[in-house]
């Protein structure tokens, strides 16, 4: 049964994209009980994607866009505590312990603690000058370090490393990217897209070293150089580690809630405790699209899960489910991905990469599984729809950019 109020509040731990969306979703669904949003960061909750994009640009505003203006929380009677963490939870008593020593009871608990940058597991990684990028403060500190002539060594050629590389090059820094794999963004995209972005970065002065295993950061009082397994040394004024994230699942794990590289949740964000939900980067769930057990670190997934949690707690209708998607902008060129590609999907290039505007289509057993669009968005939305429908597409038709994806799907023999 769905109640629309309770004596104890819904406590939401973490006021990032997921946490704020749960709070907003509860109110739009008519939840009248208390809502308490607790976050480790003091500021009014903000958008994270600009931290490695717009915010790092020289001369750009120092404030990321807010998720909701400050007054919103007052207007909606959402109590917000910034600058405190939730330290532990007592599931039997349904209370949480805050870092100021106070205890609060909950009607339902929502864990939306996100993820943190994976720490660089080598000696010297704790020297000043070695940085990760996760929060507004990280971004502002990094921005101050990106001055013309600074030697910036980036470890990891994933989305964040490459967005920082682009911003650093733009600021006149000398940029080196060290990557263990043999191409950029290898975890998320195919070879043609990797090569395109690699050349784009090189044309803008970024140097890549592939197959580079970092073994140490050295320096007296702060980072001065990065050492790799083959004995090479790269002089550095700033070192940025962009080697992935780990879920902030400790709160759940220590309380005995099922977690396995992410808090395990069902389609409504429910954990193994019937009073505890989780949403966002911190979760692991079964994909409704292809049945894979996954952790997704993207806004789309955080919002969709938050919606499911609000619906489960307050009732009301689900919003439309978007298929997972992601975007990045590097040197002014946009890469936008719909769907989740598997490494063994068939890869079909649409258009001519040399012209800087093309798409790459991924097919799994003849069905459209994902699309990358580079420098243009024409295929993006049609692809989202077709992926959701499980559309079959003949690879020869998909390769012709003059035929739209929808036309290609329509012309494909369904028994293919």
């Amino acid at each position: 049964m769905v109640e629309n109020h309770a004596t104890e509040p819904i406590i939401i731990v973490g006021a990032g994209h997921a946490g704020v969306a749960v709070a907003a979703g509860l109110r739009t669904r008519g939840w009248q009980g208390g809502i308490l949003l607790v976050d480790a960061e003091k500021e009014v909750p903000y958008e994270r994607p600009p931290l490695s994009k717009e915010l790092l640009k020289p001369g750009a505003p120092e404030e990321p866009t807010l998720l909701r203006r400050e007054k919103y929380y007052e207007d909606k009677a959402i109590e917000r505590i910034g600058g405190l963490t939730v330290e532990s939870l007592d599931r039997a008593g349904r209370t949480v312990l805050l870092s100021d020593g106070s205890r609060r009871g909950y009607h339902r608990l929502v864990i939306a603690t996100g993820s943190r940058a994976r720490a660089l597991p080598v000696p010297g990684a704790d020297l000043p000058g070695v940085q990760a990028l996760r929060t507004r403060d990280d971004a502002l500190e990094l921005k101050r370090a990106l001055v013309a002539g600074a030697r910036v060594v980036i470890i990891g050629a994933g989305y964040i490393g490459l967005e920082v590389a682009a911003a650093a090059a733009k600021s006149g820094c000398e940029v080196t990217v060290l990557e263990f794999q043999d191409r950029v963004m290898s975890r998320v995209t195919s070879e043609p897209v990797s090569r395109f972005f690699e050349s784009l970065h090189q044309a803008n002065g970024v140097r890549f070293v592939f197959g580079a295993a970092v073994t140490a950061v050295e320096g007296t009082d702060r980072a001065e150089r990065v050492i790799t397994a083959d004995g090479s040394s790269y002089g550095a004024d700033v070192v940025i580690a962009g080697i992935g994230v780990v879920p902030n699942q400790e709160l759940a794990e220590q309380a005995g809630i099922d977690s396995r590289d992410g808090i395990l949740v069902d389609g409504h964000g429910l954990t193994s405790d019937p009073y505890v939900y989780a949403a966002g980067d911190v979760t692991r769930f079964t994909s409704p699209w292809d049945g894979a057990s996954q952790r997704l670190e993207c806004i789309q997934s955080a919002l969709a899960q938050a919606d499911g949690v609000a619906e489960a707690i307050a009732g009301g209708a689900p919003k439309t489910t978007e298929i997972p998607w992601f975007w990045t902008v590097q040197h002014g060129v946009r890469l936008q991905t719909a769907g989740v590609r598997h490494p063994d999907d068939e890869t079909v290039v649409r258009g001519t990469p040399a012209e800087g505007k093309f798409s790459v289509v991924y097919l799994r057993n003849g069905r459209l599984s994902a699309v990358d669009t580079i420098g243009g968005l024409t295929d993006f939305r049609p692809a989202k729809k077709l992926i959701a429908e499980g559309a079959r597409i003949d690879p020869a038709l998909a390769a012709n950019p003059a035929v739209s994806l929808a036309e290609a799907a329509a012309a494909t023999d369904p028994k293919n």
Binding site: E47, I299, K319, E322, W327, G376, K385
Partner: protein, 107 residues
Amino acid sequence: MSNNEVNVIDREGAARPIEWEPEQSLMEALRDADLPVLASCGGTASCATCHVFLEKEVFDALGERSEDEIELLVDAEGYREDASRLSCQVGFESHLDGLTVTLAPED
């Protein structure tokens, strides 16, 4: 506090005034008013979930749409050449006070 009002017609056809503060994009004003605008890209012209229709005079008075904006919109449900905008790409301008915005259908 501002009292710049925008009149919003939602997907059920109901109209209601909302507040639009300077510094905010139209999308942010809609989102703060709890209108069903997902805005999953945070206002970077990447998702098209903030699609709205504007009145002709307002539409014409605004700047050109970027290529990204047009490419995202042309396949959108109910796309209108002379009315469709991504509300995140419409910045506050005082002469827009009193404007009527219609939420586009969801895909």
